[in-house]
Amino acid sequence: MSGILILNGRVIDPANGLDEARDLLLCDGKIAAIEKPGSLKNAEVAETIDASGLVVAPGLVDVHVHLREPGQTYKETIATGTAAAAAGGFTTVVAMPNTIPVNDSVAGLEWMLAPERGSVVKLFAMPAATMGSMGATLTDFAALHKAGAVGFTDDGKPILEDAIMREALVAAARLGVPVSQHAEDTHLTGGCSMNYGTVAFRLGLRGMTVEAESRIVERDIRLLQEIENSEGLRPHLHVQHVSTGRALDAIREAKAQGLHVTCEAAPHHFTLTDEAIGDYDTNAKMNPPLRAEVDRQAVLAGLADGTVDCIATDHAPHAAHEKEQEFERAPNGITGLETALGLALRVLHRGQGLSLSKILALMSAAPAGIVSLSGRGSLSVGSFADIVIFDPAASWSFAAKQSRSKSKNTPFDGAPMLGRVHATISEGRIVFRQ
């Protein structure tokens, strides 16, 4: 006897336009049935979960996480990072390649995805677009794709050279996967540690302008247009962690022209502004940096109007001793897997009035679609039994010290959250339970 029966939940499945009371039967790692309440009560299962008062939804998908393995396991491992993912309701994560060494080979990719790494949820990876993420020579896209790559990125760094970015877009287009770009014109951001503006002036820190982000986005969009015109290909540009209104405007326009551009926004960018740096709190240091209120509002507007395709955490763990440094010296990045849903529900649902269904789409169906994951991001019968069960009304405070991540670098320690994960099920296995 195997299987799990989830009874009496409010089932929200944006991919199928469903938001109603349903019972769910999970068998052999797949969704076996989804029926009106009461119809499945005679199924023989190993476990029954009473989801009364709770939402049952597709497991969340994060297309942008840093798991630090190999090379920096003192910050995080694949096992600890994916345990944090499970605690946050995520059942699928996509690992970025800026490990040590950089994930730029089939051997490296296979090592990362091997069962021995102990991933708690489904792990995918985007290998580097260029060797060593040095921006000079493309990696072997075809071989990496065959080995499981769901896209290519030099995240942490932009692909700066026009010619290399063009090549990457063409090669990825032939394989039907995106090039995921960290949009930062590093010619404009040398020595910068936060957003350019009045707060940076007051703190005496050099600031990154919004143009540093938008210039790369605009350049990449021009390349898309050019490739479509000249090669008859339809490349897919995915813009990572968009943080400025200027870049969102460019993306909105490109979408209107029919180009294949998608983008993600991070919970910290729609929740906080550069004021959160306070007295040089390195837990509020990330790249792209926290922006001014006008840009935060632009990200909120982009989420509401569909310019932003999905939410991604950019989960970036760092050890305490690395963050306990002078602001300019401390590394960029915050953890994010365990706070994403709580912030999305607090800020986007309660604060902005976005529906639960819309938010869940941004965190499951849409990201799964961007990296073309089949059988994930929806509750269709036959799909993987990737499920999150949460209480949408629960108010609570996040405590960093209780995090499953090895690192505790978050500006949200003690911050209010809305919506608490009760259980996370990955391919039919319960991987987290409150």
């Binding site: 707060v199 002036f201 007051r202 007295d279 607090r346 911050a415």
Partner: protein, 336 residues
């Protein structure tokens, strides 16, 4: 809108730094400023024998990651005049171990018995790190492009001493009422400018910031409502009772669309300009100055100049700050 912003914030953790720390002038209430000025005046009037007993046996570390003869000497002499033992740890000595973190250096100083650390550091915000990680009172002696709070206090005292009808022994929100101070030069890189622009409006002064766009971006207005940007130096000077000039580092001008001669023509404080626009203005400069560049020699040495008084006030104000940091010399009884 206000409630929206509230909603948007994460947790606001208020960190309590050791009492007596001075990391930014934003940490100071007007009552704090007044208490510091009161003790400064009392110290100046105190017989040497009494003063040198105030911090006898107390240990103060000067941690200087950036050389600064002026500020270091001022703090060091202030500490010695109160009888304290000082240790200088500088980037020139081998004491700052290569690659050791600021936190670990601070913990070492604390373990060696330092009761207070005076920190000069090229990185903005470094004093906050040191104060958080050691729990010691930390005096910010200049951090990156951020602040130089003791300089702003000594500048305020200098103004209160030299401007007519003011009281330098205490302060309130109207102490500098009716006073306009123009700060001219490389505002962007100046910690002196930031500290003064934050402190002087607290005491009722109006601050005009003056300089070319490249050295004074519009973002400077974020310093607060007591601050205004005026690009035309002559116009700013006409409105001012105090002209505070900042040092110009030639290498900062290089690469900007600004040449030296042009800078001098537009922003130098010289005798002719002073006589024409503000013949009675008090002239100040935090030093070190470059005579003939931002300021003409005759003005620096002229009757309007308070530059030497600034230096001697530096010694007295820093003495008071050390007493405050170590909770001695009257600060125990002054409620701040």
């Amino acid at each position: 809108m206000a409630s929206m912003t509230q909603e948007s914030q994460g947790s606001k953790k208020i960190f309590h730094y050791a009492p007596g720390s001075l990391l930014s002038v934003a940490d100071l209430s007007v009552a704090d400023v007044s208490a510091i000025l009161t003790v400064t005046t009392r110290l100046e009037q105190m017989p040497h024998a009494q003063r040198v007993a105030l911090l006898a046996g107390r240990r103060i570390a000067l941690l200087f990651y950036e050389s600064s003869t002026r500020t270091r000497t001022s703090f060091e002499l202030a500490a010695k005049s109160l009888g304290a033992t000082t240790t200088l740890v500088s980037d020139k000595s081998s004491s700052i171990e290569k690659g050791e973190s600021l936190k670990d250096t601070g913990l070492t100083l604390r373990a060696l018995g330092a009761e207070c650390v005076i920190l000069r550091h090229p990185s903005s915000g470094a004093p906050f790190v040191l104060a958080r990680e050691t729990g010691l009172p930390v005096l910010n002696a200049g951090d990156g492009m951020h602040e130089h709070p003791s300089q702003a206090l000594l500048d305020a005292r200098t103004m209160l001493m030299r401007l007519p009808g003011r009281n330098a022994a205490k302060a309130n929100a109207k102490s500098l009422d009716g006073v306009t101070v123009v700060i001219t030069g490389d505002i962007l890189h100046s910690r002196v400018a930031r500290s003064n622009a934050l402190l002087l409006p607290q005491l009722g002064a109006k601050v005009l910031l003056c300089g070319p766009e490249q050295l004074l971006p519009e973002t400077a207005l974020g310093l607060g409502s007591g601050v205004e940007i005026v690009r035309d130096f002559d116009a700013a000077l006409r409105r001012s009772q105090v002209a505070m000039m900042l040092r110009i580092q030639k290498e900062r001008l290089a690469g900007l669309e600004l040449d030296l001669a042009d800078y001098i023509a537009r922003y130098q404080l010289n005798g002719e300009r002073l006589a024409a626009q503000a013949p009675d203005a008090l002239v100040m400069h935090p030093g070190p100055m470059i005579r003939g560049l931002e300021i003409a020699g005759d003005v620096a040495d002229g009757p309007n100049s308070a530059i030497e008084l600034q230096v001697s006030n530096g010694l007295s104000v820093r003495s008071a700050l050390l007493l405050r940091a170590l909770n001695a010399g009257g600060f125990e009884s002054v409620t701040v």
